[in-house]
């Protein structure tokens, strides 16, 4: 047995020092047995790498194969649901035009001009809001509803909202009320 035989694989892998590599190369060029071994080692090494690659591919494919039935089942189930419950499809609700809509307003409110009440006047909101609930047959009283329109204004003296002395005497606030179609207060805005 040649003494370089144990270094053939290391020579193939480029792991020998330059001197050792040169010695092995010279020997292989002259020794038919070692040249044959070297060829076999090279083939085995390449086959081994191919086997590793094949095994990795094989495992990946088998994983995909395992998942395909699950995905197919999910697709079939989704199809069945669509066919069986076609009316259950979700559709967005219709959006009514915001400003043109004519609403039968059940409330007719007298909207007096801002009333600046003198100071120290007690608040009487019930007396200033005049609501009349109108039932459907009275259509001639329908008006165009504008949500932002102020329907009622109430003057509130500052003393009624703040502690005495906190605000200058005689100052009032105006509360603007917007009324919703059902008669309830939709918006309250306070301004000075």
């Amino acid at each position: 047995m040649c003494d370089v035989q144990v270094k053939l694989v290391a020579w193939l892998d480029g792991e020998l020092s330059p001197e050792e590599a040169a010695r092995v190369q010279r020997h292989v060029e002259q020794c038919r047995d070692c040249a044959g071994r070297l060829g076999a080692y090279e083939v085995v090494s390449k086959t081994f790498v191919g086997y590793c690659e094949a095994m990795a591919v094989e495992k990946t494919r088998s994983r995909l194969r395992r998942r395909v039935p699950v995905l197919a089942g999910a697709v079939v189930a989704a199809g069945v649901m669509v066919l069986v419950f076609p009316r259950m499809r979700i559709s967005p609700p219709p959006i009514a035009p915001p400003t043109i809509a004519t609403v039968s307003v059940p409330v007719t409110v007298s909207a007096p001009a801002p009333v600046l009440m003198p100071a120290a006047v007690e608040i009487a909101p019930r007396k200033t809001i005049h609501k009349r609930h109108v039932v459907a047959p009275i259509k001639e009283q329908s008006v165009e509803w504008q949500p932002t329109e102020t329907a009622v204004q109430i003057a509130i003296p500052a003393e009624a909202m703040f502690a005495p002395g906190a605000m200058p005497r005689g100052m009032n606030f105006i509360a603007e009320l917007s009324i919703a179609p059902d008669g309830s207060v939709k918006q309250v805005r306070l301004r000075q």
Binding site: V6, K7, L8, V9, A10, D13, E15, R37, A40, Y41, V43, V44, S45, T47, F48, V49, G50, Y51, C52, E53, A54, M55, A56, V57, E58, K59, T60, R61, S62, R63, L64
Partner: protein, 179 residues
């Protein structure tokens, strides 16, 4: 192993600073690491978990000013140890015959070539089963392009031992499988 089968595992890494080095290493070594782990016997999902863990460890290693010498060997060693922790019997799986239809062969391969290739792998698989655990691991790391010194780092053995082990393993395969 196709790209689409390997989901990227980097979102966490991108969140931290100084990840360009890790990202480069990830692109370079993800596939070899996955192949090595799968050949060790891990499932594809297990292998991907281990690879992600290994790169997160690398991120922490570099962030704490760990040694940058032989990072490739370091990564393989971390992945190798994690794989062994997960599965102690992996060595029995490697060397199993491939049961698939050799789909990795090119479409131009004739049926005869496919049969020959399958037979070649079957003989090699039988020869692999004769190898010791250490011989198998050395050959797997060598197949991924690691130098003997790096293999020694991964397995915790001397470089000269790696050389002897690789030489012995290749000789056994050549004698037993006649490919």
């Amino acid at each position: 192993m196709s790209d689409d089968s390997v989901p990227l595992a980097l979102p966490l890494l991108r969140l931290t600073a100084g990840t360009s080095e890790v990202t480069t290493l990830y692109r370079e070594l993800r596939k070899p690491l996955l192949r090595y782990l799968v050949c060790l016997g891990l499932t594809n999902d297990e292998a991907q978990d281990v690879v992600q863990d290994a790169f997160l460890s690398l991120q922490r290693h570099l962030a704490s000013d760990g040694s940058r010498e032989n990072i490739r060997g370091w990564l393989f060693r971390v992945a190798h140890n994690q794989a062994r922790n997960r599965q102690t019997s992996y060595h029995r799986r490697f060397g199993e015959p491939l049961d698939g239809e050799m789909e990795f062969l090119s479409e131009e391969a004739t049926p005869e070539q496919r049969v020959l290739e399958k037979e070649k792998f079957r003989r090699l698989a039988a020869a692999i089963r004769v190898l010791t655990e250490s011989e198998r691991e050395c050959l797997l790391l060598r197949a991924e392009g690691l130098r003997y010194r790096e293999i020694g780092d991964v397995l915790g053995i001397a470089t000269s031992t790696v050389a002897d082990t690789v030489e012995r393993a290749i000789r056994k395969l050549a004698e037993n499988c006649n490919v």
